[in-house]
């Protein structure tokens, strides 16, 4: 904290330094002109530009002036000698009058001049661009602009051409005739010239040697989502984002270019404003397994999407090697909003809307259900028994409850409000924003996810622009009370079930005949999260081309989860003492992370190219404290959240995890004439996750790119090709996303208490030899631009191999354990093809149409697997990591109506012969998507904007027919209507759904079928992920109200899906379906 404050103080101090005066006092005799210039510079800060030869030859002067304007002194010294001068941007150009004529080739050394100038942004005409490259075309001469955008080149032949380029701006060529040049650079409008944030720097897409995809905050804002990950789905080739559960605040699975590890983390690392985000987090966070609907939660839900300026996804070795061991699974850089120069801008954005689950399975209605039950009894040749409450008259078989609709059919509500303020002068810019987001769930008990957030940023620099400081802070407070019980499991309750409540309001268990699904929902859940992210950056422009920077970051995350099980969840018939059932558990987790990253960067010319280099260090320290409390023995359900009323409290020992990480890194880029680009980067990493001898490792990459459209022969021959870049990169990167302390002997809280004390138990034997998992990556990419870059195509092929993978290795139990984690010779490979296309199809004054599309075709496989390795899941060499071994399903026997299986000898078997688990699981099913991506279109007409984003995926998914126990006809259990319609009815009928039945003949095959390939389906979906329709009021109308912008909009999320997948959502399958949302809102900018 202290360090952050310190940086802030510096930032404000810088503002106070005052400017130079423009009046001078000089007295002296026989001074050379050079001496006079020096004195003037000292008093005014004005720089001089002149030809040394001319000035050397000039006569000496006598001066004695006090507090006179600079021009007066200059007039006095220069005019008599025939010199002229001009002042521009604090530069004074001095020139001997020569007879100039354009186009005349001057002799070297005679017609040459010293050129000085400033490069500024055309947008406001006064933002200097530091680090721009100024090049004398056709020579080896070039310089970089300094911190105030200035440059100076000696001896430039008159009439030669200066080529000025800067990342994100269009390159400009200027002919030299004047001593002083004011060069205005225009921001590039196309994607090629967009600035991409990369590791420790920025670069334009055009000149990037690595593979980086940028998502703009404004695109994220078009989706009414709480988690920015949701808005990125499909947009980044190679990045698979899958919603694990549709529950509000629930988990996403994120994998960039497949799985590079078996036992360790395969998620990309997040870096927010240069600060690693939760890189050292142990896996306890976020949500415990007690809330199955949230499936672990999402670390990115702790962001307010409105605070995000852009997200850059770094994919290949070139882009990520500088992150060394942290970059093995890819890096996602999040840049938050900063203040911009200009008058105060206030923007308010409010929306509100409703939603529902995209899919709620349709189960049989009352009469069909009863018919099914009777058919099942008939098939089995048995009569209705005393426990068949649903059809024996115990339950009122005319009552109807639509369980799916009741349990997951509630309309949700979403509200969001954002207020942002920004502005600033040339020295200090500020941004402040606050947001609130709330989304209720589809469950009947009213759980919801809500968060409030604040974000502020200050950017400041000293008048000479040598010192700069930036302070950014984000705070998010969230509460999630979404139901923790997995409700999809009870929607198959009988539709003629008794009433849910007794007359006194308690849950009805109908004399112990009814398992009441709503009672399940009386469990309580709440988690509170507080997330504080702060970063400060201090920069110092040390010399021309040389910058020093230090980034300091602090992250503080506090998490508290409460789960309460009231006695009302249980059928009173099964217990005598309700106080034995009541239980509360608390999980408390505190995570803090400090980072300090000093850097030094240099840019300059070497030979005929521009060199940019950055080097630095990174120090990170994470600490996580975690403990659980279990309370029981409550006298009343109402007391569950009151620890004082617990009869028994067991506190687990506090687990404390510390992670330290240090690195030195460097990167050097070389740009030869915007034609040949090369890059080398490396990182020397040390982490506390490994034993003392195994902590340090060097990672690195090399990359090169060739912009072949810069070659004149290409330009001539392929004039329709406006841009073409061929690039490749190769590198070795690590994965330290492994558990902390694998190298040490580990302990954990014991499962049971002894003498009322929860002891600790050994969980892992020490293995000091454990070390880095590594990943060798290679890729080749082709970027093409057609029709003046109106159509951009990017194609990439990548291949990577992960090795030295950490796997549990079998050992003799004399060691105390049956396995030890070791680096083994196991290897995994990933390769794939990625494509993205962007097109500005039509652009007229009133109407525009642009499109974009992405496609990813990934492949993952286990290359090598040593013996003696225990794998948590089945692994097969040559197959992907994410597979299931299944029994081949043999269809429905047309004569008996029962399922058949194919055993390991290829024989078709059916009940009473049953397959054997293990032996007969011979068929491999891969669960990874084969193809995924997105297609978007954007139309504008006058003040209207319409955008539609479709995402698609082709994959193998869980067969929805196998959710729960779908054997049709079992007592008290319903099945999906689509399934019942396809059932076997009579001998000779060929179908794929077993006959109805109630006994082992039909139930056992169903249980085995869950291990068969029938439990998976090859499917696809295309979803209208997002629809955005907006109307902006004309300027002249709203200007009257002092508004800059007023936009009304409608946003839709997950509006419809086209898929052959039935009953459940194809993305989340067994979990809660995503929510379909429709919101309307208004945004006003003052």
């Amino acid at each position: 904290m202290k360090k952050v404050c310190f940086c802030l103080v510096i930032a404000f101090l810088l503002v106070g330094v005052c400017g130079y005066s423009q009046r001078v006092s000089i007295s002296g005799k026989g001074m050379s002109l050079e001496k006079v210039f020096e004195l003037i510079k000292a008093q005014t800060g004005f720089d001089f530009v002149y030809n040394q030869n001319d000035i050397d030859k000039a006569a000496r002067v006598d001066l004695d002036v006090k507090d006179v304007p600079v021009t007066a002194v200059l007039d006095k010294c220069l005019k008599p000698q025939g010199f002229t001068y001009e002042i521009r941007n604090k530069i004074i150009g001095v020139r001997r009058p020569v007879n100039r004529k354009k186009g005349i080739v001057v002799e070297p050394g005679r017609g040459s001049i010293d050129v000085s100038g400033i490069v500024v942004d055309t947008a406001d005409g006064n933002t200097p661009l530091s680090g721009a490259s100024v090049w004398v075309k056709g020579t080896n001469v070039g310089v970089m602009t300094g911190s105030s955008g200035r440059f100076f080149i000696k001896d430039v032949a008159e009439g030669s051409v200066l080529q000025v380029s800067y990342a994100g701006y269009l390159t400009k060529e200027v002919e030299v005739h004047d001593l002083i040049l004011n060069i205005l650079l225009e921001r590039g409008s196309g994607t090629l010239d967009e600035i991409q944030t990369i590791a420790y720097g920025k670069v334009s897409n055009r000149l990037n040697t690595g593979n980086v995809t940028t998502i703009k905050g404004s695109d994220i804002a078009k989706q009414p989502v709480s988690d920015p990950l949701s808005a990125m789905q499909g947009l980044v080739p190679g990045l698979l984002i899958k919603q694990v559960t549709g529950a509000q605040g629930g988990a996403y699975s994120v994998a960039l270019r497949g799985y590079g590890s078996i036992a360790s983390r395969t998620m990309p690392v997040y870096v927010v404003d240069g600060i690693p985000y939760m890189a050292g987090l142990q896996f306890k966070l976020l949500f415990s397994e007690s809330n199955q609907n949230l499936a672990g939660g999402s670390v990115t839900d702790l962001f307010n999407p409105a605070d995000i300026e852009s997200i850059d996804v770094l994919k290949d070795a070139d882009a990520t090697a500088i992150y060394g061991s942290q970059g093995g699974n890819g890096v996602i850089l999040i840049t938050t909003k900063k203040g911009r120069k200009g008058p105060v801008r206030v923007s308010a954005d409010v929306y509100s809307g409703v939603g529902e689950a995209t899919r709620v399975p349709k189960y049989l209605g009352l009469s069909d259900f009863l018919a099914m039950r009777h058919e099942a009894q008939r098939n089995d040749g048995i009569s209705v028994g005393p426990k068949d409450y649903d059809i024996n008259g115990v339950w009122d078989s005319t009552r109807y409850t639509n369980w799916p609709k009741l349990l997951m059919g509630k309309a949700t509500r979403v509200d969001d409000a954002q207020l942002q303020l920004s502005g600033g002068g040339s020295r200090i810019q500020y941004f402040a924003g606050g947001g609130y987001h709330r989304e209720s769930s589809i469950f009947p008990d009213g759980g919801e996810n809500r968060k409030a957030s604040a974000h502020a940023s200050f950017v400041s620099e000293s008048p000479d622009r040598r010192l700069s400081a930036r302070l950014t802070g984000t705070y998010v407070a969230g509460v999630n009370t979404i139901q923790s019980e997995q409700i999809t499991e009870v929607i198959n309750s009988a539709p003629d079930a008794p009433p849910i409540y007794n007359p006194d309001g308690s849950y009805n268990f109908a004399n112990n005949t009814f398992f009441n699904p709503l009672a399940y929902l009386s469990s309580r859940y709440r988690n509170d999260l507080r997330n504080l992210l702060m970063s400060a950056q201090l920069g110092f422009h040390a010399a021309k081309g040389l910058d020093l920077r230090v980034n300091v970051g602090y992250h503080d995350l506090a998490y508290k989860e409460f789960t309460g099980s009231p006695a009302s969840m249980y059928n009173p018939a099964i217990y005598t003492d309700p106080s034995l059932l009541r239980q509360s558990t608390y999980l408390n987790d505190n995570y803090r992370c400090w980072t300090v990253d000093p850097q030094i960067s240099y840019s300059g010319h070497v030979a005929k190219g521009v060199v940019t280099a950055v080097a630095g260090g990174s120090w990170q320290r994470d600490q996580e404290n975690y403990h659980g409390v279990t309370e029981s023995g409550f006298q009343s359900d109402d007391d569950l959240s009151d620890p004082d009323k617990a009869g028994k409290v067991v506190v687990s020992p506090e687990e404390q995890i510390e992670y330290k990480y240090q690195a030195l890194f460097g990167r050097m880029n070389y740009n030869w004439d915007n034609k040949y680009l090369a890059s080398v980067s490396g990182r020397y990493d040390g982490t506390s996750r490994f034993g003392p001898e195994k902590r340090y490792h060097l990672f690195g990459s090399v990359a090169g790119a060739w912009i072949f459209t810069a070659e004149s022969w290409v330009k001539k021959k392929f004039s329709w090709l406006s841009f073409g870049k061929l690039r490749t990169s190769y590198g070795v990167i690590g994965n330290d996303g492994i558990l902390n302390y694998l190298y040490r002997a580990n302990y954990d809280s014991a499962m049971y208490t002894y003498q009322g004390i929860r002891g600790i138990t050994a969980t892992r034997v020490a293995n000091p030899d454990i070390s880095w998992e590594s990943d060798r990556k290679w890729e080749v990419g082709l970027d093409l631009g057609f029709l003046k870059d109106r159509i951009l195509v990017n194609m990439t092929y990548y291949r990577s191999k992960s090795y030295n993978l950490i796997q549990p290795y079998n050992v003799s139990v004399v060691t105390g354990f049956s396995e030890v984690d070791k680096n083994t010779s196991a290897e995994i490979g990933n390769n794939g093809f990625e494509l993205s296309v962007q097109g500005n199809n039509i652009r007229t004054r009133r109407f525009s149409w642009s499109s974009y599309g992405t496609l990813t075709s990934p492949r993952n496989r286990v290359i090598r697997l040593p013996g003696n390795v225990t794998a948590s899941s089945a692994l097969v060499v040559g197959q992907p990591v994410n597979i299931k071994m299944t029994i081949p399903w043999g269809g429905i026997n047309p004569q008996t109506g029962l399922m058949q299986f194919v055993d390991s000898s290829g024989k078709l078997i059916s009940y009473p012969s049953l397959p054997m688990l293990g032996r007969d699981q011979t068929r491999v099913i891969s669960l990874d998507p084969v193809l995924f991506g997105a297609i978007g279109n954007r139309f504008t007409y006058k003040n209207w904007t319409l955008e539609a984003l479709f995402v698609y995926s082709k994959q193998v998914d869980y067969n929805p027919e196998f959710m729960g126990l779908p054997a049709g006809g079992l007592p008290l259990l319903n099945i999906p209507a689509s399934l019942a319609a396809r059932r076997w009815r009579e001998p000779g009928q060929v179908t794929d759904v077993q006959r109805f039945g109630t006994d082992l003949r039909t139930v056992l095959p169903y249980l085995y079928a869950q291990y068969s390939d029938k439990a998976y389906v090859n499917t696809y979906y295309i979803r209208l992920k997002n629809l955005y329709l907006a109307y902006s009021f004309p300027k002249q109308t709203i200007n009257k109200f002092h508004m800059d912008n007023l936009t009304c909009y409608v946003k839709g999320e997950n509006l419809f899906v086209v898929t052959p997948y039935r009953d459940l959502d194809p993305e989340t399958s067994y979990y809660i379906a995503p929510t379909r949302l429709l919101v309307a809102g208004i945004k006003a900018v003052f």
Partner: protein
């Protein structure tokens, strides 16, 4: 690149020392756990909860049940991978039996013992003295069962996985030496009081103390036939037999039905059950036929006819410690030392060591030392309690067989005592040569030892197999 980085290193003033990632601050890794008195003892507490829930002491796969089946105490009525093999004296190489549990808890003991330097033990760190004392005791306790069950066994005394993964089996004599050394050291470290996991004196005898070390040492000396040492250790446990000397409050319970209760005065070390199966012992759940319908799939075992018939007429232990179910298929007897199957409140604790055994150890040692009167006094102490008349002492042979009988009916189904007794007295071949064929198996002398699990030999070729497997 490296040169560049080294240069940068100097620039930033970051020498190799600055880059050193120091040992992390964490409670749950060995370096932190063993820095702290309380958490060191917590490892032992965690080990106890694992031990009592792991199945080796009580319940279906306990030493008592498996070795009771292997001997002549129990009968198996339903096929079961572990129990049926034991019952027919046909132990399987594929089964681990007690191997993994012994070495699993041994690891915790070794971790605690290896973590505390001698200087700390002599200092004021009482919790750590307790932790190391208990760890040494439990290590000896486990190794005693390991060597009696498996013969020569690897002596794993450290937590070094690479070393332990290639250990050879140590001769039984060396294992015994280690057990004696551990127990003597434990005896010196542990106090006379019964403590809890925070070093506080408590009512129940849930952790081993100095008395436990002496009692186990008495047994070990007996097995080594060091009679004088055995008698001396037993003396110091029993004291004057009224609870005022020696073992303090350890005295025989007058009522047989109080022996296995929580708070039994006879207990030297009892374990608190609880955890997976509720609050009472797994033995009660496994043996007691609450429905009275005879053996069933989950509770497939009943008492053997040999054991049921071994009790003298009028033996109170037959009345109080043996249950019976009369069914249409016949009458079944079952061990009824533990009676309470309730899951809410613990009324019974599982017995690890009790005074009655120490009396029997002393009786045998005294008899071997020629003190037949003293021997019969000890035996008769137990017989009186069971409501039987005392036995006289005319010869050593008579005395020894009286003691063997007394052990059989006093300690039946407790930790496989009968099996180890038969083995110790070289009576296995004689007894099992008759019993095994009757159980439907074939007895060979090599069945005296369990096989080393084959998978262990596959993983560590330095391990040899016992003969006959």
């Amino acid at each position: 690149m490296r040169v560049f980085l080294v240069a940068l290193c100097f620039m930033l003033g970051a020498c190799k020392k600055g880059l050193d990632v120091t040992s992390p601050e964490v409670l749950l890794t060995d370096d932190k756990v063993f820095k702290n008195d309380t958490s060191t003892l917590d490892v032992i507490t965690g080990m106890y909860s694992g031990l009592i829930n792991g199945g080796m002491p009580d319940g279906k796969n306990s030493v008592g049940v498996v070795m009771g089946l292997a001997a002549d105490e129990l009968k198996d009525y339903y096929p079961d991978a572990v129990l049926s093999g034991a019952y027919t004296n046909n132990f399987s190489k594929a089964n681990y039996y007690f191997w993994s549990q012994v070495y699993s808890w041994l690891y915790d003991c070794n971790a605690v013992i290896g973590s505390v330097p001698a200087s700390v033990l002599s200092g004021a760190a009482e919790l750590r003295r307790q932790a190391v004392g208990e760890a040494l005791f439990v290590r000896a306790f486990l190794m005693w069962y390991a060597t009696e069950l498996y013969g020569d066994v690897p002596l794993a005394l450290t937590t070094d996985h690479a070393g332990n993964n290639t250990l050879r089996r140590s001769p039984q004599a060396s294992v015994y030496d280690q057990i004696v050394a551990d127990l003597r050291e434990a005896r010196g470290l542990l106090g006379m009081g019964w403590l809890d996991g925070r070093g506080r004196v408590v009512d129940n005898r849930e952790r081993p103390n100095r008395v436990a070390a002496m009692a186990l040492l008495a047994r070990v000396y007996l097995y080594r036939e060091e009679w004088a040492l055995a008698a001396a250790q037993a003396d110091s446990v029993i004291g004057d037999g009224t609870g005022t000397g020696g073992g303090g409050a350890v005295v025989l319970e007058d009522s047989l039905n109080r022996v296995f209760l929580k708070g039994s005065a006879e207990a030297i070390w009892q374990m608190e059950p609880g955890g997976a199966v509720g609050s009472n012992t797994m033995d009660a759940r496994f043996f007691v036929d609450a429905t009275g319908s005879g053996p069933a799939v989950g509770t497939p075992v009943a008492m053997s006819d040999e054991l049921a018939g071994a009790f003298e007429v009028g033996d109170g232990r037959r009345r109080n410690w043996v249950g019976q179910s009369v069914t249409s298929f016949g009458t079944y007897y079952y061990p009824y030392k533990y009676k309470d199957q309730g899951t809410a409140v613990a009324t019974e604790y599982f017995m690890m060591l009790r005074l009655a055994e120490v009396y029997l150890v002393r009786a045998e040692a005294r008899a071997r030392l020629g003190d037949l009167a003293g021997a019969s006094a000890d035996v008769n102490r137990l017989r009186e309690r069971a409501g039987l008349a005392g036995v006289g002492a005319s010869s050593l042979g008579q005395m020894l067989s009286a003691i063997a009988h007394e052990r059989r009916v006093e300690l039946f189904t407790e930790w496989g005592d009968r099996w180890f007794d038969l083995k110790r007295t070289d009576s296995l071949d004689a007894v099992m040569g008759v019993v095994t064929p009757a159980k439907g198996g074939v007895w060979t002398s090599t069945d005296a030892l369990l096989p080393i699990p084959q998978q262990e030999i596959n993983l560590n070729p330095n391990l040899s197999q016992n003969p006959g497997y």
